[in-house]
Symmetry: C2
Subunit: 168 residues, 2 copies
């Protein structure tokens, strides 16, 4: 396949994907609803949790994080992070707690029962990913990741790794 044609297709696919990935993904919402619903029924979770919220849930997997840290990690402004956390608190998924060492910072952490749920949400995401890419060989999967990284780099994407900025 001609390299030029490849990029033609990529060019067309990217905006569509950006849209697709960026909106609350009904299938996943249903899953989260189901997972959360079993543990402690939170009304109206479905439809009201979005990419940013999931990113935060993933970020918290490595332990409590400050709001500022989350903002950086997710790649949004601090007020936006406040807002995302607000929503998660409303849903009873995370809680705020003052940092003992610096009472300016607010630490965000899973609500106790959420630890396991968050793990499962991440896992379910990964499973979906695995099944989506089932037909890819290992080499292809690796090439895909490589491309993704280049893209992120090229587009100046704030790397939203939960591990990033461990301590700045």
């Amino acid at each position: 396949m001609n390299r030029d044609l490849i990029f033609d297709e990529v060019l067309l696919l990217l905006p569509a994907l950006s849209r697709g990935l960026g909106r609350p993904w009904p299938k996943e919402m249903a899953e989260i609803e189901e997972i959360v619903g079993h543990e402690f029924p939170v009304e109206g979770v479905g439809g009201s949790i979005s990419v940013g919220h999931v990113q935060i849930l993933i970020s918290l997997a490595k332990g409590p994080r400050s709001v500022g840290h989350l903002a950086e990690s997710v790649g949004v402004s601090p007020p936006a992070a406040t807002q995302l956390v607000d929503r998660l608190v409303e849903h009873g998924m995370v809680e705020r707690r003052p940092d003992e060492k610096d009472r300016r910072v607010v630490l965000v952490d899973y609500v106790p029962q959420m630890h396991d749920i968050a793990r499962r949400i991440v896992e379910s995401r990964k499973e979906r990913l695995e099944s989506t890419f089932a037909s890819l060989t290992d080499e292809e999967a690796e090439a895909f990741l490589k491309g993704l990284k280049l893209l992120a780099e090229g587009f100046g994407v704030a790397f939203g790794s939960p591990g990033c900025g461990e301590e700045k």
Copy 2:
């Protein structure tokens, strides 16, 4: 590299990319500004044109399209398409014209001078893409496209190809 680790990274990269790709890309805006500015100075184009607008400009490369067609092609609702077209009309980039054969439909087309400009915008996008992926071998590039397609499929993304739905 372990397949599991690959998907871990992909999992983290996707939301960040979705954000990054989804917002008006400063570098590109500057380029468009420059391109458009040379032809006919349109005030305030920079910052006010977004992914959807570019998608429409790309879609129109194959000829005039109805609003409904554009909506489908971009993957948004008809009112949203109307809005996107509105903005482009404001900027003097496209124009509306009633369809002779069916006076319900409104055809959208480039303003005459835009033909060349739109071509260059698309080209500049592709060039940036090519340079971003310069370090990829042909095989890797192909694998990347394959992955992208799987992703789009898996996420139920409306394929935003301008060629889609040529006639339904």
